[in-house]
């Protein structure tokens, strides 16, 4: 059977709503655990207010945060999935974005970067972003939306092989401290770190690591998994908690993704996915049925593949 643009539109509209309103379980559990251990009393107050906020959002069906971020999509197409038109798929994603912006409502954040003009629907030149990947032996299409807010908390640095892990730690500390003060990054955050690739891949990997992997997930390389743990602990030892108040709740989890890079360099990016870590995924099966979840399952073994095949 063929998946139609109508299926895509239905699924995309639904995940736009879910992402904006319902905090993913993995992140919620992470924040609950931090609220239990946070000793800074103002930071603990903030975390408990956030837990109230998630409940209010779900009960009232209203967005958890009014900055509904920049809605965007990640599409994973099964190798055996059949779709009559890929252009129609993209058009369906745009339509769902405009409709959800009006209906939820989402804040129409998208404006022209120079003229600041807007269409009140979160659409525009090169927006929303749609990123593509493929999956062998599958006949479904997965669509994930991420509503990432936050003008603060993301940075890029070209490091060099000689900088080593120390250089990454230095950069991570600089970023968390700079954007953590006054809570500009709306921490505690899921921190995504991209290491390697070219500059743009490095940014992309870090962003995907923050937004498309769930709290508790570990990189399959055990050495990298150890670093993820170490960096999380490092962030939580700064002495800073939610809103930049004295405390220990900075990093809910840390995810690292790597890509082969130029022999002379070690580009690194840091991204923070905020207290409104909004993501939702729909799987459109070949018979047109749709199932929903909050784990994007974006980084499959095929996605991280090495070698020729």
């Amino acid at each position: 059977m063929t998946i139609t643009a109508k299926h895509i539109e239905t699924a995309a509209y639904e995940i736009m709503k879910k992402a904006a309103i319902d905090i993913p379980d993995d992140y919620l559990t992470g924040i609950e655990a931090m609220a239990d251990t946070e000793s800074g009393d103002l930071s603990a107050f903030v975390l408990s207010a956030m837990l109230d906020n998630y409940r209010a959002a779900t009960e009232d069906r209203r967005p958890m945060c009014a900055d509904t971020g920049l809605p965007r999509y990640y599409v994973k197409v099964g190798d055996k999935a059949r779709m009559d038109s890929m252009v129609a798929l993209e058009a369906a994603l745009r339509k769902a974005t405009a409709d959800a912006t009006h209906d939820v409502p989402l804040r129409p954040n998208r404006v022209h970067p120079l003229w600041r003009t807007e269409h009140n629907n979160n659409l525009g030149i090169n927006s929303p972003e749609v990123e593509w990947s493929f999956e062998p032996d599958a006949d479904w299409i997965d669509i994930t939306t991420v509503h990432k807010g936050g003008l603060f908390g993301t940075d890029y640095r070209m490091l060099f092989p000689g900088d080593g892990i120390d250089g990454i730690k230095r950069f991570l500390l600089d970023t968390l401290i700079a954007f953590g003060k006054r809570g500009l990054a709306c921490q505690p955050a899921i921190v995504g770190i991209g290491i390697g690739g070219s500059k743009d891949t490095c940014m992309q990997l870090g962003k995907q690591a923050a937004c498309l992997r769930v709290v508790g997930d570990r990189n399959p390389d055990p050495e990298i998994a150890k670093l993820e743990h170490e960096f999380k602990e490092l962030g939580n030892s700064i002495g800073m908690g939610a809103m930049g108040f004295v405390g220990s709740s900075m990093v809910v989890d840390c995810h690292i993704e790597v890509g082969y890079t130029h022999t002379g360099g070690m580009p690194v990016s840091v991204h923070t996915f905020c207290l409104s870590s909004r993501r939702a995924t729909a799987r459109i099966h070949s018979d047109g049925t749709i199932t929903y979840r909050t784990d994007p399952k974006w980084f499959t073994p095929y996605m991280r593949r090495e070698g020729i095949s």
């Binding site: 640095r157 401290i177 006054r182 930049g244």
Partner: protein, 231 residues
């Protein structure tokens, strides 16, 4: 789950009286009832830079700043329904430091006494601008408490310059009830909660870098001197 320690909590009615404001201490919690207005760069630019007159409130034609002395640095997730009414979903503050340069003239023009936003403003602004005018700064919590704050907005009283400035930048007047929580950042003595916490945290920062080797390449930003080489 452990419940957060209870903090001193104030329920204030807008327009907020000077005697109420005098009671607020950094770290206290505040809930508001009455009318708050929103203003961010689009509004300041229009009124303070382009010298356009302030709007007057709808039917009564009264000066809206008689109704509200609470300025919220916010843009709502709002939609205009087919019948012309408004649907307010979430309400979240935006970072206030960007509006710092307008605050002095704005407070004088409007007699605003409470500024609400995200992240506070520099302590010097409290000392030099807010405190001398009997004004305080409250910060939103989280900052993503958009749903809780959205619940506190009972209706839209008015909206100005929606066509020119768009939903995000327009000047909204919200009727609010049990609107909060907010945390008091600055008091009328000009103290700042954020500044106190930053200072406490700063004591530990250099120790975090102990033992890390120096970077292979410096960068502008670590030095202010653009004549320096970065190698």
């Amino acid at each position: 789950m452990t419940t957060a320690p209870t903090r001193k909590t104030h329920h204030l009615t807008i327009p907020v009286k000077a005697s109420d404001i005098a009671m607020l201490k950094p770290g206290d919690i505040v809930y508001l009832e009455g009318v708050v207005y929103t203003a961010r760069e689009g509004v300041y630019d229009r009124v303070l830079e382009k010298q356009q007159p302030l709007p007057v409130s709808g039917q009564s034609g009264s000066d809206l700043f008689d109704i509200s002395n609470v300025n919220f640095h916010c843009s709502p997730a709002a939609a205009i329904l087919d019948d012309g009414s408004y649907k307010i979903g979430g309400v979240t503050a935006t970072a206030s430091f960007r509006f710092s340069k307008w605050m002095e003239r704005w407070l004088d023009l409007t007699n605003t006494k409470i500024v609400i936003g995200k992240g506070g403003m520099p302590k010097e602004d409290y000392t030099n601008i807010l405190a001398p005018r009997g004004a305080v700064y409250l910060t939103t919590v989280g900052y993503g408490t958009g749903a809780l704050l959205g619940r506190g907005v009972t209706s839209v009283k008015d909206v100005f310059w929606l066509d020119d400035l768009g939903i995000a930048q327009a000047m909204w007047m919200f009727n609010v009830k049990a609107f909060g929580p907010f945390i008091v950042d600055s008091d009328i003595a000009g103290n700042s909660l954020f500044a106190e916490h930053n200072a406490a945290i700063a004591e530990n920062i250099s120790a975090l870098y102990d033992g890390l080797k120096p970077p292979a390449l410096s960068r502008y930003g670590e030095t202010d001197n653009r004549k320096d080489e970065v190698m």
